[in-house]
Amino acid sequence: MVLVLALGDLHIPHRAPDLPAKFKSMLVPGKIQHIICTGNLCIKEVHDYLKTLCPDLHITRGEYDEDARYPETKTITIGQFKLGLCHGHQVIPWGDLDSLAMLQRQLDVDILVTGHTHQFTAYKHEGGVVINPGSATGAHSSITYDVNPSFVLMDIDGLRVVVYVYELIDGEVKVDKIDFKKTTATTAH
């Protein structure tokens, strides 16, 4: 039972001052085992804050990140699942399922987590699942101002993943979930 937090596109301090208070009150250290962040934090202070939530932090580079050392893509294996991480501004058209599916096949992962569109989406295709956690601060994207703050928490338990979607709508936190199973176990390598 591994809890993985996926979030990104915070754009602190340029487009948003901080995470919403209701999100911050829920995110306490000690509960989450891994954090994967799509990018665009943008400053070191945000990195440090995320590090206090959980020491195992994975970040990929967004186009506005001040730290240039983050990689463009990253793959992580957690339990039976391989997760891929990429900011998503590199994949054109932005947010297009087929292009993201190509990236997923390239990285050879079960779950691909990308951002950049600041909209939560979760797609399934033959190669696996693509999740976009949206923007955790509700910062405006390159395309639209209409953004609800959102992030994703994945509960990986054996071959089953429950994806909890946390969204701040009209000042209230709404939680939904998505359930899916993997059919075959990952071969160890």
Binding site: L97, A122, Y123, L153, D157, Y164, K177
Partner: protein, 446 residues
């Protein structure tokens, strides 16, 4: 009338060096008062050394038992004289008595208590069975044993499966009951549908009744339990070290304590409970009967609950200052000491200001497991569990006896030396100690 120290207290008997054993005719069973305990003029086992310093613990317990003491059931009356040479004979006789009692169809608990109060032999799994009987885990009707054991053990198993489930599984169970399993291969691509969460359960939930929240709160307690279990009896191979057995035992202790904490949200886990569980688990695990040893975890859980039921209030912080709390128990000990040995009491509490809380707290809450070596503490527990007055009362008497036994050194010491002495109680003849504790049962007339 001024209460002076009773004569028997001033005898050389009670110095901390183990003296020759007290005269024979003293016994717990006899109601007549003991003759003047002046062992020096009438040392019972003249030729050989008293079995006191002999290592095998069962022999150390030798001194009081007298054949005449025990009921007519015991046939070997002449062994009393022979016991110094072959102390094991008496041990064997006690063992046979116990076995005889245990093999009866309906066990007489009062009888068993009396025999057990003198100490139980270490072998033949007697202690394991007797403790289970004394704690009410096994019914006195032998015929019901197997059904009772099976019932309780399966109950423990169901506790384990229920309570040790992690929240993912719990939420999955809740889902199954509300929604039927979705066939998720029906759409090969496309947007994944978002489903409502059941009962507002999500991992970051801060709700009081949330399964997840409880899980994370319990995690802290489980960590605490883990730390304490690792520190239990580090000198014993049974409990610590790298052997797979030690690991299994530690796991078992952890599971028992975790389940107890989950079932008792009022008191949860308090440091020290591991020390009370340890002897129970040790005894049951070392039962020569295979089945019993395998179910030691379940058995020790129920016996632990039973044993703790009398002491729960000691572990509850809020009750510390109340009438049933640990403070009042310590005050009772203090009063008992005052009653039996006013001089010592005055010296300790008034002159040297050694507050009994400094030493008695650990003595009482941990039932003396920390003050003596493991084998001795098992013998003390024999007496504790078998006394009809109950462990709480008995432990007070034993603590009082512990103080009285070293009165000479205490009276001569100041705050520092007394405190040091009491917090590292010197090793002593346990049989002795229990004898004195028993004497304290009747109020001395001064």
């Amino acid at each position: 009338m001024k209460k002076k120290v009773p004569d028997w207290l001033n005898s050389s008997l009670w110095s901390s060096a183990p003296p020759p054993p007290p005269p024979d005719s003293i016994s717990r069973l006899d109601s007549e008062p003991a003759p003047a305990p002046a062992p020096a003029p009438a040392p019972p086992p003249p030729p050989t050394e008293p079995p006191v310093p002999v290592p095998p613990p069962s022999v150390v317990r030798e001194e009081p038992p007298k054949p005449e003491v025990v009921n007519s059931r015991n046939g070997n009356g002449d062994d009393g004289n022979a016991w110094p040479e072959r102390p094991s004979t008496d041990d064997i006789s006690r063992q046979s008595m116990l076995l005889a009692e245990l093999s009866k169809k309906v066990i007489n608990i009062g009888e068993l208590r009396r025999i057990a109060a003198q100490g139980l032999p270490d072998g033949a799994g007697i202690r394991s069975t007797v403790w289970k009987l004394l704690l009410g885990y096994l019914p006195i009707d032998r015929g019901l044993w197997s059904s009772e054991l099976a019932k309780k053990r399966s109950q423990y198993q169901s506790f384990k499966t229920e309570l040790l489930m992690n929240p993912s599984e719990i939420t999955r169970k809740m889902d199954k009951s509300t929604i039927s399993e979705n066939d998720d291969s029906k759409s090969t691509s496309g947007e994944l549908s978002r489903a409502d969460i059941t009962h507002g359960e999500h991992p970051l939930s801060l709700g009081e009744s949330s399964v997840w929240n409880k899980f994370f709160q319990d995690t802290e307690i489980i960590e605490q339990i883990d730390r304490d279990v690792k520190r239990t009896h580090p000198d014993m191979h049974f409990f610590s070290g790298d052997s797979p057995d030690a690991k299994d035992n530690q796991e078992a202790l952890k599971t028992v304590l975790t389940i107890f904490a989950k079932l008792n949200p009022g008191i949860r886990y308090v440091q020290g409970m591991n020390e009370i569980l340890a002897p129970l688990y040790y005894v049951f695990r070392n039962d020569p009967d295979e089945e019993n040893a395998a179910s030691a975890e379940a058995d020790s859980f129920f016996c632990f609950v039973e044993l703790l039921s009398g002491f729960r209030d000691n572990f509850c912080k809020q009750l510390d200052n109340s009438v049933v709390g640990i403070r009042s128990t310590i005050t009772r000990l203090s009063d008992m000491l005052k009653e039996h040995d006013e001089e010592l009491w005055r010296h300790l509490e008034v002159t040297t200001k050694v507050n009994p809380q400094f030493y008695a707290f650990r003595w009482i809450t941990l039932l003396l497991t920390q003050e003596f070596n493991f084998a001795d503490s098992l013998h003390i527990w024999d007496t504790l569990l078998s006394d009809p007055e109950g462990p709480q009362e008995t432990v007070l008497r034993i603590c009082c006896a512990m103080l009285i036994l070293i009165r000479r050194r205490l009276l001569a010491g100041d705050f520092t030396s007394n405190l040091r002495l009491l917090q590292n109680y010197p090793s002593t003849n346990v049989g002795h100690l229990l004898y004195v504790a028993n004497k304290l049962r009747t109020t001395p007339s001064g």
